[in-house]
Amino acid sequence: MIISPQLIEEHGLNPREYATIIGILGREPTLTELGIFSVMWSEHCSYKNSKPLLRTFPTEGPHILQGPGENAGIADFNERFAIVFKMESHNHPSALEPYQGAATGVGGILRDIFTMGARPIALLDSLRFGDPGNARTRHIISGVVEGIADYGNAVGVPTVGGECYFSSAYEGNPLVNVMCVGIIEKDKITRAVASGAGNLVVYYGNSTGRDGIHGATFASTELSEESEQKRSAVQVGDPFTEKKIIEATLELIATNAVVALQDMGAAGLTCSTAEMAGRGGMGIRVNLDLVPQRAENLTAYEIMLSESQERMLAICEPRKLDLMKSILAKWDLDAHVLGELDDTGLMRVEHQGKIVAEIPADKISENSPVYQRDKRWPDYMDALPDARTELLEMVMSARCEWLDFLASPNICSKRWIYEQYDHMVQTQTTTPPGDNAAVLRIHDSPHSLAMTADGNGLYCYLDPYEGGKLAVAEAARNVACAGARPLAITNCLNFGNPLKPEIFHQLSEAVRGIGEACRTFGTPVTGGNVSLYNENPDGAIWPTPVIGMIGRVSAPAKPLKAGFARPGLDIIHVGPPADHLGGSEYLHWKTGKAHGPCPSCNLSRERALIDFLVEACEAGLLASAHDCGVGGLAVTLTECVLNGADEIGADISIARRQIPASCSMDRADYFGKES
């Protein structure tokens, strides 16, 4: 097989990267090897365009047991338990095949969690869609919601929270970010580090087919007309097998039957063998003839790159193989020994009597390309309409408009979504979806766990740096309004094509903002995922970092809810009033456009607010709390009433203050967002 320049380009590799490959191998690669490098060096697996930025995140803290680099991050919870959590995107698959794209997104993130030995206890989804008035968008919405529901419900993990936002900025390129949270006894943490020459490489789960070949590479390019033809890159989910794999895997870990585990997710068998061996400094030998196959005549290339779902790779001591087999057999799963570890440091792949790949395992990740991309201040940011000088002559009947605003897609209750998700199974959900943060009591623990997923693409579009800070601040406010002390975050960075300097500016500024906010709140970044190339033929999406945060409500404090608890209580507004409508959902709804300026985020003030909320909750001073989120104070108060005790009402008086000269009416008080 001759590797032509065209073939190299089709694999998303540039001539310099190809030269590096020849340097690593000391020869031309085989086609299988070219495929392996192609997926491993895609943005999805190698973070080649974002790594220099991601390195600036704070990732350590006394309560962080595992930072980035593993299947998921781990934060300390109490004497006995730790929390394993991570968020991942499935944007491109969901754009093409909404149901399977979203379903397999759930399946993939679940595997990242239980592979570490943790039982998944909650799912959250952060969703972005185009205008729901568009029929194609409605098809995507219903497919995504049903895909999440069918998968999450069947595996018995409650979907307890998330967010959903509509804007034409996401037309044709929806965002589907799924977060999974798991719990583990601290001495049971399992890592994906292969060790022990002679130990066996064991495959279990579904068989391998042609689905999902080059999914990781596909996720690292822009969506275009031709994307439709790449439909075969989307995988098909099987939640029943996943459920069996969850139970079997947790049993394997509980009985110490395996040394290391990794799921075959993005880049399939390639990624799991290369990464496990690479992390452990081991060599790994596999024979592809032993891989169970559900399609005929699969080539070595296809087997190595297939992203068929619900497949696991374990490292097992030979003496424990029988134990492993018996546990898998209980769940009607087969163990397939593909090969073994050795001391060569080589990843060696055999197929039909031939060596089809032989690569130094550690070099694949060590020598992966890293790029410092150019950035440039985006022109559009100088031309944003300013809410302080425009638009405020609009006169309307406030009451009428208020009801319409409440009924708008971004403000109305998302019950129609979350009631399709089983949010109660496992009987830990004490604060269900539709509140500040979801709160789970934890069986056999006095403390509760709060969790949330938040982002605001509009803010980041207006000002990526302030928007990055605000995303973390909003997550922290949601967690703290539940009475929980924020612990750590995971994130999904959803951006456009990083090769465009304006987009790279957005990415680097948002990362700077997120990092600063995390330092201020003491919530390190434990991992996450980067989804770039989120563009449709009209351009890039709004830059949308989504923050998944966990926090702890320490007993004997009781978690707070958003709804007004009982009559006769005082309502107190904490924090400075909003002084303009920039970045408000109200103006976005009113005009369909993004109006600046972005609210600014004073991190030390935010930190003080978080501390106040947590301490006031612990001191028993608060009956409820709610943050002023999308829609501003008016919507916040409405939600407090609607979520409150039966037939409760609220009497609100806002002292008239000096109104900035640029605001000809005091609408900012009601619809502007507090910062």
Binding site: D150, F240, H423, T427, T429
Partner: protein, 227 residues
């Protein structure tokens, strides 16, 4: 040991159910793998909620052939108590221990939310308590109970309708029927009155922190009679 909670591959409420049984009775209960038999001395078998065999083919259609079902049917014939919750109810229908069938919810979506349940026949082993309306959640995609007209008449005449969906004040009607079930039926028993299937999840309503303690009534009743 007298209460057994059966685990099929794909069950996902077995631990919640076990926890509820143990919390209410204060005694340990047993999880029984579907390839095994019920332990001798079992007086109450609970088939829990979930997606046995992924609900592939049809909810409950494959689980009815699991080895454990032989001893569940024996227990039912011998007068022991059998309680099927959600997917357990669907399995009991497929196994013909209860009449009728389940079809997809009227809105074709999975529904997870709190509903009110009216007790249609007090005094059974499952309803030996005073409250007449219970607040308990549902979580299913196939809970739309179907039976033909004659079958429904017969069910009503023989007092086999145990629970109906209702309003907060106990009104039964289309507006309070979450899934389109015939006669707003949420739970039925067999003629002998010792096998009950219900779609709502009483194991999710045993604690104020979860939003209701009304499920306890059902557990207390059934554990007193069979546990």
């Amino acid at each position: 040991m007298s209460t057994a909670v059966v685990v099929f591959p794909g069950s996902n409420c077995e631990k919640d159910t076990l926890r509820a049984v143990e919390a209410v009775s204060g005694r340990p209960a047993t999880l029984v793998w579907h390839k095994d038999r019920l332990p001798s001395g079992t007086r109450l078998a609970v088939l829990p909620g979930g997606f046995s065999y992924g609900d592939y083919l049809r909810a409950g259609a494959i689980a009815q052939f699991s080895p454990v079902m032989k001893s569940v049917i024996e227990l039912a014939k011998a007068g022991g108590l059998v309680l099927g919750i959600c997917n357990g109810f669907q399995i009991l229908l497929e196994a013909r221990l209860l009449p009728g069938a389940m079809i997809r919810n009227r809105n074709l979506h999975f529904i997870c939310r709190w509903i009110n349940l009216r007790i249609e026949r007090p005094g059974t082993p499952f309803t030996n308590f005073n409250p007449r309306i219970l607040r308990i959640p549902i979580a299913h995609a196939m809970g739309n109970y179907f039976i033909d007209g004659d079958g429904l008449k017969q069910l009503e005449a023989r007092g086999q309708v145990i629970f109906r969906y209702c309003s907060q004040s106990g009104d039964v009607g289309d507006a309070h029927n979450p899934n389109g079930s015939a006669g707003s039926i949420a739970g039925i028993c067999n003629e002998a009155g010792n096998v009950l299937g219900m779609m709502p999840h009483p194991e999710r309503a045993i604690d104020e922190a979860l939003g209701s303690v009304d499920g306890r009534c059902i557990w207390e009743s059934v554990l007193k009679c069979g546990g």
